[in-house]
């Protein structure tokens, strides 16, 4: 449930669900997000769910903090029982052409390459949120022994479709972008496609993702 609602500036509600990052708190956030999104309250123009917060921004020309807060406080988020989540398999090639940070991870985690991949692949990850850049999914949770910090100096250009790890999360760079996550592979499938306006994101909050390893040859032939 929402623990506290405050204002973020004069055009957004800051709904606080707690401080921990776990699936149960995040599922609450997603439930509220989906319910409010479906109801289309006049004046609300954006909803940003994250691990344990939901930010609701609105058009100050049409409504205000008091009205939106009152609306959110009286919503029955239980109504939205259809969470409509998917289970997805994402192919990933961890060939040395792509796994730029595997040596760094071997040193930090004190695990062999084989062990790192074994820990990472074929496990279910939960999509907590998408964003930062368009369509980028934040997937958790990695095992405790797989958690590494970001690079000290972020790369200026991370290749598109890089699969990367940081702290308790895995993610995929949906397009070439600066970034500091530890890159361990690359997927041949597009996670974000702006030409599909109704469904640009392959992975959405609430979905479950499993990474399946493919060889370099399979990677090269994937889209043919």
């Amino acid at each position: 449930m929402i623990k506290n609602i405050s204002n973020l500036g004069d055009a957004a509600l800051y709904c606080d669900f707690g401080n921990e990052v776990n699936k149960s708190i995040n599922s609450q956030v997603i439930k509220y997000f989906k319910t409010i999104k479906e109801k289309k309250f006049e004046g609300i123009n954006n909803l940003t769910p994250s691990y344990n917060k939901l930010i609701i921004s609105y058009d100050l020309k049409k409504t205000n903090f008091k009205e939106v807060k009152n609306y959110v406080e009286n919503i029955n988020a239980q109504d939205s029982n259809d969470i409509n989540s998917k289970k997805l398999e994402i192919p990933v090639c961890c060939h040395e052409n792509f796994s730029m940070d595997i040596k760094r991870l071997e040193e930090i985690l004190k695990l062999s390459r084989e062990k790192i991949l074994d820990n990472f692949l074929n496990k279910e990850y939960f999509c907590y949120m998408t964003g930062f850049i368009a369509g980028m999914p934040f997937l958790g949770d990695l095992n405790n022994n797989m958690r590494a910090q970001r690079l000290e100096t972020p790369r200026v250009k991370v290749p598109k479709n890089s699969v990367a790890l940081t702290e308790q999360f895995a993610s995929i760079y949906t397009f070439e972008s600066p970034g500091g996550w530890n890159i361990i592979g690359n997927t041949p499938i597009d996670i974000f496609d702006s030409s599909k306006e109704d469904k640009p994101n392959l992975i959405n909050p609430g979905d479950t993702v499993i990474f399946k390893e493919i060889t370099l040859d399979q990677y090269k032939n994937y889209n043919e």
Partner: protein, 314 residues
């Protein structure tokens, strides 16, 4: 094949098509975009008898030099902009907030913005542009919007889909006022900062850095000391949020900002001051002044009434 078009002789530094922007997309990682200075965007469209949500050409610092081909239409430039109009053998200096006729072969040369950042060029009609999520606004980082999500380039041709039949010349006396203080509302992580840091935030002057663009405005000045944690669990952002990363230098989120971020939020710029904030060029001095939510809402209402008044007088 359109018979009315523009040719780009010089594209300028950061020239894009912008309109009202796109909403309902933060949750998938797509920001609002749209014209940075919304008031000047609306005035530009009104001066050429366009719909208020029509696409315009937004430029920053140095603007484009364009050549027009086709039937006579209107154009107008808003902001604080130095430009000239070249017709056959004469070249005259143009004035902002006034519409002009432009005919086959005429050129508009937008030399620069004056002690400001953004200017707007509106032409009487509709460009032939691709829309994504109900907006043609270009977001160059995500490569979204018209023109394949790229800035306008040298040699490019821009076609019109239609031109306005109303070619009346319009004029207004608007002056872009500068403000000394940017009004802010306390951020959700205000208490992450030391007493000294909070004092610095409200009392000291900051300088707009060169590393500012449509995504964000970086500030330089006295460091704001964090005493709790230099990171928070990543969460949503909105435009105007002032984040302070570990180095103690504030960054203000602007229209093309990343949709989530993990730095503490010390404040949020009040909506009333956003249009004027984005016009502060590198080297400008900024001071923040705290206001409460009720005052921010009232001030925005007045600002919006003033905008509507300005538009109704054109």
């Amino acid at each position: 094949m359109s018979s009315n078009y523009l040719d780009i002789i010089r594209p300028g530094i950061n020239t894009t098509f912008q309109d009202k922007g796109r909403d309902h997309l933060y949750h998938i990682g797509i920001p609002f975009s749209g014209a940075m200075d919304n008031r000047n965007y609306l005035i530009a469209n009104k001066l050429v008898n366009n719909n208020l949500d029509s696409a315009v050409i937004e430029f920053a610092y140095q603007g484009p030099h364009i050549k027009y081909s086709g039937e006579k239409i209107n154009f107008a430039i808003t902001g604080d902009v130095i430009f000239s109009i070249k017709k056959k053998d004469t070249e005259i200096e143009g004035k902002c907030y006034e519409s002009y006729h432009i005919e086959n072969g005429d050129e508009i040369n937008i030399i620069s913005t004056n002690k400001s950042v953004y200017g707007y060029l509106a032409l009487g009609g509709e460009f032939d542009l691709k829309f994504q999520w109900n907006s043609c606004s270009i977001n160059t980082k995500a490569k979204i919007g018209s023109n394949d999500g790229k800035k306008l380039d040298l040699g490019q041709r821009i076609n019109f889909k239609k031109i306005n039949s109303n070619k009346d010349i319009k004029k207004t006396n608007y002056i872009n006022t500068k403000i000394e203080n940017i009004r802010v509302i306390k951020g959700t992580n205000f208490d992450y900062f030391s007493e000294e840091g909070k004092k610095i935030f409200y009392e000291k002057e900051f300088t707009v850095s060169k590393l500012s663009d449509r995504m964000g405005m970086r500030l330089e000045g006295p460091k704001i000391d964090n005493i709790v944690n230099t990171n928070i669990k990543s969460e949503g952002l909105i435009k105007g949020v002032i984040q302070v990363p570990a180095d103690g230098n504030p960054i203000i989120m602007l229209s093309d900002h990343g949709t989530i971020g993990g730095y503490p939020k010390i404040g949020v710029v009040a909506s009333v001051d956003y249009d004027r904030l984005v016009q502060m060029s590198p080297g400008s001095k900024i001071k923040f002044k705290e206001i409460n939510l009720t005052d921010a809402e009232t001030l925005f209402k007045l600002y919006e009434m003033e905008t509507q008044n300005l538009l109704s007088q054109i």
